[in-house]
């Protein structure tokens, strides 16, 4: 139609709707961890290069978010938590989300490679591929371990930041990856325990639905136990130090205590007090990750001043 009335439908996407496609809250975590990975690296980039690197790592993460929303539009429409997202609410057409996701993926990978190095660009491309194809398309709907595997996508940004600065993957970068990778399962399962989800209606296998809450509680504990060595090991590398180790010992002790309590919490008691314990452990897990990376920044600052 060439008639101008064809443009008069009321659900026209606004700029903010496109921003929502990029999952800005997830992007903020990506920006922070990528920035830390870049700043703690022994090689320093020019501020403009560093800014460009972090910007396009975040944009790559956002692009994978848009592609994830495009693929998951059917289940997002079923679950209450996600019904207001741009596609299920009708503000953005699925085709638009796909186009934006693909275009931004390409732009961010190429720009990161040009601004820093090809390995960093390739890692970002792999992260987008992993989150969209391996996690969203393949594993999310078939295994209750989806959270574990999906955590890898969120764990790549500090490694990409490090590679952007140094040009290679090292033990430090691998341990920063492992810190987020191992942290993700207990963090999300603590959330799954208190959030009355409708994953069952959407046919997404979550551990709480497939194996029950008791098994999920045990998983929170055992995955937290598995996380601790990686968190502490980072303190003995070139980017760690006394400040990091002190913070990490304290934070891990608190996280272990919370996970232990979750494991031994009685389900009826949890319902009675409105999942107070699970909510507090979930909130603490966010602080846990934030403070670990902040401690790495402090160590980098101290090294810069020649303090250690």
């Amino acid at each position: 139609m060439t008639d101008i009335r064809s443009f008069e439908h009321h659900h026209e996407a606004q700029f903010g709707d496109y921003v929502q496609l990029l999952k800005p809250r997830v992007m903020s975590l990506v920006v922070f961890t990528a920035l830390v990975g870049l700043l703690v690296a022994p090689v320093s980039l020019h501020p403009v290069e560093a800014f460009t690197a972090v910007l396009f790592i975040a944009l790559g993460g956002g692009a994978s978010g848009a592609l994830n929303m495009w693929w998951d539009a059917d289940i997002d429409a079923i679950m209450r938590r996600t019904q207001s997202r741009p596609i299920p609410s009708g503000r953005v057409q699925p085709g638009e989300a796909l186009a934006i996701g693909l275009a931004l993926s390409g732009i961010s990978v190429v720009m990161l490679a040009l601004a820093t190095n090809v390995l960093a660009g390739a890692l970002l491309a792999f992260t987008i591929f992993f989150y969209v194809v391996i996690y969203s398309v393949w594993l999310k709907r078939i295994t209750p371990q989806n959270i574990v595997i999906g955590g890898a996508a969120g764990a790549f940004p500090p490694m990409i930041g490090w590679v952007a600065a140094t040009g290679s993957v090292s033990l430090e970068a691998a341990l920063m990856f492992m810190l987020i990778f191992m942290w993700t399962p207990p963090h999300f399962w603590a959330l799954a325990l208190f959030m009355k989800s409708d994953y069952g209606d959407a046919k997404v296998p979550m551990l709480t639905e497939t194996h029950g809450r008791r098994v999920t509680r045990a998983h929170v504990w055992w995955y937290t136990v598995a996380l601790v060595p990686f968190a502490l090991a980072l303190g003995f590398t070139s980017i760690g130090g006394n400040v990091y180790l002190a913070a990490s010992v304290l934070l891990n002790a608190l996280f272990l205590r919370g996970a232990w309590k979750i494991w031994h919490q009685d389900e009826d008691a949890a319902i009675a007090d409105g999942y107070k314990l699970e909510k507090s452990v979930f909130r603490f897990s966010l602080i846990y990750l934030f403070l670990h990376f902040t401690a790495l920044l402090v160590e980098a600052g101290l090294r810069g001043m020649g303090g250690i």
Partner: protein
């Protein structure tokens, strides 16, 4: 239906166009800044630099005598 110069569609799309315009302007500025940095700090050897020293260089023997 009368077509006005300022149709309702233009008003609705203003924020979207403004946002996109700002993003594109920012992108241009970023590429420019990045180019300036790369050119000014361009101490890295380029693959073509090697051609300026064309020819085979044979390192002389450090010890012993020439036959």
């Amino acid at each position: 239906m009368a077509i006005h110069v300022e149709h309702d569609m233009h008003r609705r799309r203003f924020s979207r166009n403004l946002g996109l315009g700002l993003v594109l302007a920012g992108f241009v500025a970023l590429v420019f800044a990045l180019t300036v940095v790369k050119v000014t700090n361009g101490a890295r050897p380029h693959a073509n630099d090697a051609k300026q020293n064309s020819g085979t260089f044979v390192e002389p023997a450090k010890t012993g005598t020439q036959p």
